[in-house]
Amino acid sequence: MTAATPTRMELRIPRKPEYVRMARRTSCALAAQLDFTYDTVKDIELAVGEACTNAVRHVEKARSDEILVRFTVESNRLIIEIIDYGQGFQPEEEGGEGLGLVVMRSVMDEVEIRCDADTGTCVRMVKYRDNS
């Protein structure tokens, strides 16, 4: 797949633990199609699993029953955003469950967490194709 202009794909999953797997598997399929190595495909799956798990776990007063997973394919990188439509959480609030963020940061090239009044927390992760 070449991407002179960014290609975008969005997946909405119910905010339930059993659907996190669907987001993981979609990320695997896309990353494999982009010719990431097997190890990197598994890293991307892990990062998506962690981000979606946080979205399920941290949102008690969410404005939506869904989580949005957005994939943007650019020529040299894959950008993944997980948007929870909640009230947002700060990484330091994770406490004992902070392993998820540690994992995300160790397997992705960039991880950024933004909180917004409209969309809640957005975890934005980038994997560069040259680094695969």
């Binding site: 633990p17 993981r24 892990l46 962690e50």
Partner: protein, 117 residues
């Protein structure tokens, strides 16, 4: 929905509980792991061997359960060991520093040889 995690459990040598996991350990399946382990603890397990050769995926949700079990068992002089983890799972333990916390063995025979002493 079919569970993507299958768990077999057994006791060995009086105080060793063995969990054999196959499939995926994530937020959707972690409670099954916790419940299976707690049943072994109720049966008298002080040492827990978690065999992961059949685990294709594990994330921090699974690690959290294992950390909790370890805390509980270490308090009473017990332990939790990881057995036959595949490379992606071994990598997960290393990324989180937990490879320095949990004893890790290549197979059940090696684990039982050491833990059963």
């Amino acid at each position: 929905m079919v569970s993507p995690l299958k768990i077999e459990s057994r006791m060995e040598g009086g105080d060793i509980g063995i969990l054999l996991l196959t499939g995926e350990v994530d937020i959707a399946t972690k409670e099954s792991l916790r419940e299976s382990a707690q049943r072994l603890l109720a049966d008298g397990a002080k040492k827990l061997l978690v065999e992961l050769s059949g685990v294709e995926y594990m994330d921090s949700a699974g690690l959290g359960v294992l950390k909790g079990l370890r805390s509980r068992l270490v308090e009473s002089g017990g332990m939790v060991a990881i057995v036959a983890a595949r490379p992606p799972v071994t990598k997960l333990f290393a990324q989180t520093g937990l490879d320095q916390v949990f004893p890790m063995f290549p197979d059940l025979a090696a684990a039982l040889g050491e833990v059963g002493k």
